[in-house]
């Protein structure tokens, strides 16, 4: 069985998922605006039914002529306990959070590679996540996140949605009275480096953007349909291979 999204909750408050299946992986993302020049990493959220850890290094971006900071965090809990998980997140001036449950994941050493990238106090319309090292295995879950803020801002920065190849989980385009936010995922079936670029239209001076990407391993034997199909075709076309399954 391959990787699959089981459920996802988004919001500005502390978040609760019910009915989590034992052994699944939980991924939490938080995009925040701090009304100060504090760019230190977002604190790891606490879980009433497990333990989360951080999955990216690096600091947030300065914005609004260094009177504010925009920052994203990506956290995970491997081999989750069954039942209800309530997460308490770091409080900031503005926050958007996502808590997602994925099945088909490794139950140990699930985090593979990750990185983050930022732009301070600039007039920009895109932000790269940075490029990860080469992933260790073919089947992996790729998580990306963005936090974007500026001095004044717009109620709709007009994101390119979705980011190419990804499925959006939480998109908040408002950097006027909120932290503009983009959380998304994709499932890959081949090894390689991973990177993504967030794009938007509305821009001004002194924007600060912080983007992150993290790759998580599937369970062993978790081949995707795309990988299984060529094997089936080979078995059909080659009777010597097909005979093994009779």
């Amino acid at each position: 069985m391959g990787i699959a999204l089981a459920q996802s909750v988004t919001g500005t408050g502390n978040l609760t998922l019910n009915g989590v299946v034992s052994g699944n992986t939980l991924i939490a993302e938080q995009s925040s605006f701090r009304n100060s020049a504090t760019t230190t990493a977002i604190a790891v959220p606490t879980d009433t039914n497990g333990t989360f850890v951080g999955s990216i290094a690096g600091t947030g971006a300065l914005c609004a002529a260094s009177t504010g900071a925009s920052i994203v965090g990506v956290f995970y809990a491997v081999n989750a306990a069954s039942g209800t998980h309530t997460l308490t997140f770091e409080a900031n001036s503005s926050n958007n959070k996502t808590l997602s449950e994925f099945s088909g994941m490794a139950t140990a050493s699930v985090l593979d590679v990750s990185t983050s990238s930022k732009t301070d106090n600039s007039d920009i319309t895109s932000q790269v996540t940075g490029t990860t090292g080469t992933t260790a295995q073919a089947d992996e879950l790729i998580i990306i996140g963005l936090a974007l803020a500026t001095t004044v801002g717009s109620s709709d920065v007009t994101f390119t949605n979705p980011v190419s190849g990804f499925t959006s989980l939480n998109v908040v385009p408002n950097d006027l009275s909120d932290i503009a936010t983009f959380h998304a995922y994709k499932i890959v079936a081949a090894t390689g480096t991973q990177a993504a670029t967030f794009n938007w239209v509305v821009h001004e001076a002194n924007m600060g953007a912080h983007a992150a990407i993290a790759a998580f391993k599937a369970a062993a034997g978790g081949a995707t349909q795309a990988q299984i199909w060529p094997s089936i075709q080979q078995g059909i076309l080659n009777p010597m291979i097909g005979r093994r399954y009779v």
Binding site: A4, L5, A6, Q7, S8, V9, T10, G11, T12, G13, N14, L15, T16, L17, N18, G19, F33, N35, G68, T86, A91, S93, S94, N96, A149, G153, T167, S168, L169, N170, V172, D175, L176, S177, D178, I179
Partner: protein, 122 residues
Amino acid sequence: MSTLFTGSLSVVAGQKSYTPLPVSGGIQGLGKSLQVSIVMTGTAFPTGTTTLTIGLSTDGGATYREASGSYTAPFPPGKGGGVPNQTLGFTVGDTTTVTHVRLSTDAPSTFTLPVTVTAVGV
């Protein structure tokens, strides 16, 4: 994106569930999940912690899968200095057609909460 409900919830102290909202066919789309989102006016929340729950039913409202957000007011000023609106969204990964959405609250006191509930296939 389709709007399922725009109006106000008459929230009471303690727990309350509201009349389920039917989800008309075609919103979710074949082979897609349904993402339900709620935007709430931040200034409406009373002091203390209010919990809002979204339930999604795929069996005509007999059973619901639920997720929650908790909101502790008064909220600190958001970006721009105002009281930020609050949000909650819920998506289940399977593509079974969602038939009903149910909201529930657990609040410290009675208040009126303006909300907009939207749904989109993702």
